[in-house]
Amino acid sequence: MELENLRFGTELLKRGFAKMQKGGVIMDVTTPEQAMIAEEAGAVAVMALHAVPADIRRMGGVARMADPKVIEEIIDAVTIPVMAKVRIGHFVEAQILEAIGVDMIDESEVLTPADEFHIDKTKFKVPFVCGARNLGEALRRIKEGAAMIRTKGEAGTGDVSQAVRHMKMIMGDIRKLKGMNSEELTKFAREIEADPELVAECARLQRLPVVNFAAGGIATPADAALMMQLGADGVFVGSGIFKSENPEAMAAAIVEAVHHYDEPEVLARVSRGLGRPMKGIDVTTLQEGEALQARGW
């Protein structure tokens, strides 16, 4: 074995890991039992949390990284990848999760931010996913080393409208780049406070240079398929599964819906008789300061 040839934690490996999640559903879980339900339903990965976003919202207070013991128990319970969340800017929580052996870290606005700046993700071997509302925000995170982007949406509400808005903003901004010359691209990059080279790359690829998932308010198979039809590479489902009446059935149905997102007959079949989805909150009724999407920049 030629050890000098061996490389860990490269951008190719981090972005490559995210690519393996494409077309899949990543589910929030708080216990090993829930993680096993998610795996059985066909989740591509689980997100280990101390509480799902709907409960974090309800409980209030400072939301932090989950207890490493719980995360380790979840890692031991399943064979699929395990992700976990850290507070925006809290690079020590990230160091702890990397040490535990979490497969991907979500630097998440669902937890209480620790800093106005985000983590320098290039310093880690483990890949990161970050939330974004528009192209500028997505590219700032990618510049910091994020290997995957997800819409912020509005977590813990079960209201898909903000995820829709953010996905359309990102896709729309990328479409605008089509046909711009290099001068116009530079100007646009300055306007959205993004790296000009990354803007030029998006113009050329006509997509983000990393995998782009939908998240924040997805609660039904129809919501998941909606996000896929809008161009998401896959979906995160937070409270939508374990806050529904029948989590097993809901989880399996959302997985089917993502695989068959453009087949209404299949969507109709899998949507039948699932019981009550999570109750949710209409985002237009949120008080000022309650929107998690405003965290980060």
Binding site: N5, R7, L13, M20, G23, G42, T79, P81, K125
Partner: protein, 187 residues
């Protein structure tokens, strides 16, 4: 032009489609039954083997792949694809298709932070190959008729059985098209 069916249920499908096209083949994304019988080659991409395995059964594509492989249609199976093409898997409740007579150990190198890139020697290649291993499996046992074509760190990471190629790594994530060309030149 060879028509290659790329199983498109979950995982890095578009990367394999691009690689097949760059290597001179025609790629078709396979999301339901009925397409595989029209293809003269198959790619089983990387992704999550539990997720893909379940969908292969539900859609009826699993049976079509088995039939095609039995008729000597070439197959390139990478990472999760290798797991699903195997005869036996060490753990988990995935039911593999049993195309290649091997046992596979899933996620054999540890969590994602242990994923790696390395130069390896591949039987029949005149220069080293840069392989990308992501939560990669390894081949634990090779049956008769299975040729080991690459090893890394004393473990088998690439095999060939007649027209079936199984790789623990991801040829679709680099610009090196030698494995996709091998698929297009077989049979």
């Amino acid at each position: 032009m060879r028509r290659i069916g790329v199983i498109a249920l979950q995982g890095d499908v578009s990367e394999h489609i691009s690689a097949v096209e760059a290597a001179g083949g025609q790629a078709v994304a396979v999301r339901r039954a009925g397409v595989i019988p029209t293809c003269s080659g198959i790619v089983m991409p990387g992704g999550e083997s539990t997720t893909i395995g379940r969908q292969l059964e539900r859609t009826g594509i699993a049976a079509e792949i088995k039939q095609a492989a039995a008729n000597d249609v070439p197959v390139l199976a990478t990472c999760a694809g290798l797991v699903l093409a195997a005869k036996e898997i060490d753990a988990g409740d995935v039911r593999p298709l049993g195309l290649i007579d091997i046992s596979v150990g899933r996620n054999a190198f540890g969590p994602q932070r242990e994923s790696f890139e390395a130069e390896i020697d591949v039987a029949g290649f005149d220069r080293p190959y840069r392989a990308v291993f992501i939560r990669a499996p390894v081949v634990l046992r090779c049956g008769e008729g299975v040729q080991e074509i690459a090893r890394f760190g004393g473990r088998t990471v690439a095999v060939r059985q007649r027209n079936l190629i199984g790789l623990a790594f991801h040829p679709e994530l680099t610009e090196d098209l030698r494995f996709h060309r091998m698929l297009l030149e077989m049979g």
